[in-house]
């Protein structure tokens, strides 16, 4: 079988960007949470807020560090595997990505050190200010990246001359039609991620009875937040979907698994899309509901995938099922948030062991939902890389061979497997050691500002098993 450099490049990009994305998604949510905790401590001087802030700052440091390491690779991917695209879109893509880097550097240089190491060394107000600035900075970073991505989905403000995009209107290109929806959807996703992780860890600490006072506060606060955010995300997601219907109807058709343009379109709960036969097998659906959701009328017309010839269709099963996973997890999140509200009577949210265990498990769901959502939006626009203007096939590096692409794909998987293992393993140790007096710490380690991980002092392996030193 001939190795296809295009397919392998797409797999490689999907792999490295998925791996990378989970870190910033978490840091954006967590940075805002830290700002809130530091603000609460500043106002109330309740030490419980400070204990929470100290612990979550350590987690933030590790996750931020992992994000930086995996991010270095991203800044070279566009050139190595998508050189035609990089060259064509550089006038827009270059400034967007560079501004993201500039923002991140400014943030790291000016405020991150103060947030991580400044507690007790700079005035409390200065520390709070740094914490807020880090949170704001994560939004600005996300702004640039999502502006670039949204432009690729709904490209405007440019003209294509001699295979190169030239900017005709910067603000139109940056604030392109899908950008406001994607940005809001993504920020809420980050908050949900932060919220469910904090809720899950707090629930675990309550289960084992560690720092009950502080963790009750954290859990209660998170559940109020999730009660607002989880339904809000469903609403924003709906608006985002309507925007997609307007600009990328084929993507919506694939999300709905709707092959032929039709009215009274059912909402499919289950189906096995068969792209070769251009139909679904084993459909189970609710009559007319897709029409109602997308057009707010049962007789509304929903576009069909077959409006496009087969070679211009996205991989339907992937879009269809990724979308279902994302939505199902979204509804699960709403249900858990509502259950939390119900259990508040009599303070049972802090004691109901089943609920606390459920929250522990829930902490991974936002990551899965975010990745599923990105699979929907990224594979759903296939075969286009810049929608309607440049296909994946036109964008890939011409000199790339299947063997080269396979070599690096395997290589990146191997490298990330090691890094991800080490990072996750270390993070679980930080959590296991967290929120307690006299947890395992490396004694006398020199503080090394600038290095995010030096904000934690948890040893990487068991100190007690090694008698020397």
């Amino acid at each position: 079988m001939e190795l296809d450099p295009l397919l392998l490049s797409r797999m490689q990009f999907a792999f490295v960007v998925s791996f990378h994305a989970i870190f910033p998604v978490f840091t954006i949510g967590l940075a805002s949470y830290l700002a809130v905790l530091n603000g609460l401590f500043y106002r109330t001087e309740n030490p419980a807020w400070e204990r929470l802030a100290v612990f979550w700052t350590k987690v933030f440091a590790v996750v931020f560090g992992m994000g930086v390491v995996s991010g270095i690779v991203m800044s070279f991917q566009f050139g190595t595997n998508w050189s035609n695209f990089s060259f064509a879109a550089a006038n827009f893509l270059g400034p967007m990505l560079s501004y993201e880097v500039v923002t991140a550097f400014f943030l790291e240089a000016a405020f991150l050190g103060v947030l991580l190491f400044g507690r007790g060394k700079v005035p409390q107000g200065v520390h709070l200010f740094a914490s807020i600035m880090v949170a704001v900075g994560t939004f600005i970073s996300a702004f640039w990246i999502l502006a670039a991505n949204s432009w690729m989905q709904t490209p405007v403000g440019v003209e294509l001359i001699d295979n190169r995009f030239h900017i005709t209107d910067w603000s139109e290109a940056i604030f392109n039609p899908s950008f406001p929806y994607r940005f809001t959807h993504m920020v809420l996703a980050s908050f949900l991620t932060g919220g469910f992780v904090v809720a899950g860890v707090s629930a675990w600490y309550l289960l084992i009875g560690r720092d009950v006072r502080a963790n009750k506060k954290a859990l209660s606060m998170c559940l109020w937040l999730l009660l607002v955010l989880a339904p809000a995300q469903a609403l924003v997601g709906d608006f985002h979907g309507l925007n997609t219907l307007e600009h990328q109807p084929t993507k919506v058709a694939a999300m709905e698994g709707n092959w032929e343009t039709s009215s009274h379109t059912p909402l499919l709960l289950f189906a096995i899309p068969d792209q070769a036969a251009q139909t679904n097998r084993f459909e189970i659906g609710i009559p007319s509901l897709a029409s109602v959701i997308l057009t707010h009328h049962p007789a509304g017309v929903v576009p069909g995938i077959s409006e496009m010839p087969p070679e211009q269709q996205p991989p339907v099963w992937l879009v269809f099922w990724s979308f279902r996973i994302m939505v199902a997890l979204g509804f699960l999140m709403i249900a858990v948030a509502l259950a939390g509200l119900w259990l508040r009577r009599g303070g049972r949210i802090y004691e109901h062991r089943g609920f606390l265990q459920l929250l522990r498990l829930m902490s991974v769901t936002p990551f899965i939902a975010v990745l599923a959502g990105w699979f929907v939006t990224e594979t759903g626009r296939a075969p286009w890389l810049v929608y309607g203007m440049m296909t994946h096939a036109e964008a890939v590096t011409p000199s790339l061979t299947g063997g080269m692409a396979l070599f690096t794909l395997v290589g990146y998987v191997a490298v990330y497997a090691v890094v991800f293992w080490a990072g996750t393993y270390y993070l679980t140790r930080v959590v296991r050691n967290g929120m307690q007096e006299g947890g395992e710490e490396i004694k006398g380690e020199v503080e090394r500002p600038m290095r995010p991980l030096s904000a934690t002092h948890t040893p990487f392996d068991d100190v007690s098993t090694n008698p020397s030193k």
Partner: protein, 333 residues
Amino acid sequence: MGGIDLALIWAVIIGFGVIMYVLMDGFDLGLGILYPFAPDEDARDVMMNSVAPVWDGNETWLVLGGAGLLGAFPLVYSVFLPALYIGVFLMLAGLIFRGVAFEFRFKSRKNRHWWNRAFCWGSAVAAFAQGAVVGAYIQGFAVEGFVYVGGALDWLTPFTVLTGLGLMAGYALLGATWLIMKSEGYIQAWAYRITLPLLVLVLAVFLIISLWTPFVNPDVWERWFGHIGVIWIFPALALGCAVVVYRSVRQRREGLPFVATLGLYIFTYLGLVISKWPVIVPPNHTIWDASSSPESQLFLLIGVLFVIPIVLTYTAWTYWVFRGKVKVGEGYH
């Protein structure tokens, strides 16, 4: 915008970024290369501690350079990266491994030897790949129109292997002179001992590369043996710096060997830039051919001119805070 040559400004910025990266990440990569030869584990602790506060700041120049190239000179980005595809992967993998090693070696006890290996191999591979990039730049690339059309391993020739090994030796020399400045006692004595052999090695490699280059690329020959005699000042100054390294090591000076080594590389780098100027994608494309649109270059320039002074200030501040000697046992009990 009449009168202001944005491509020229960007060439200066990118050129500045490249030499900042080479000098600053150079000495911490160099310490990684020297790692297996260190006298003992305490010396390794000191070596790593001496760069721990600054290494990731050093690497920010690489990321800024990568993103800046895409924004300002997309042709460089879209020819170099495909042409050096395998090398870029090896460099990134090396940098990731050593980055992670930096973080976790300090926090490990029984797994420490694994992180030592990751640090050493990561540094060595990254340094070799960067040296090969320099060699490939001197060689030039097979480009048709604005697209790289060569093969996966065109960059890997005897010449680029030599430049790769040469940069490894060069980084090792930087690492050794850095260590002279930052250590004391038997560790410093070891650093003094290895500096002069490394200097000889580096000069030998530079000499071979200089003699070889005109055969690899005739334009360079024309540039050096044509009518512009004044450019010979750069190799002369580089050689002067090498003499200063030699004498200052003999006199057991502590800071001067490092500073003179920096000078040696700055003048060598300027000589290399002069050999090629204004070609940025050899053999044929100049900085003006490789540029993005003037509006994009201007848009990006505003942000970069804002952030570079901040990064420089912060970098200087960090180096100031962590000035002075790193002692054995400092940090661990």
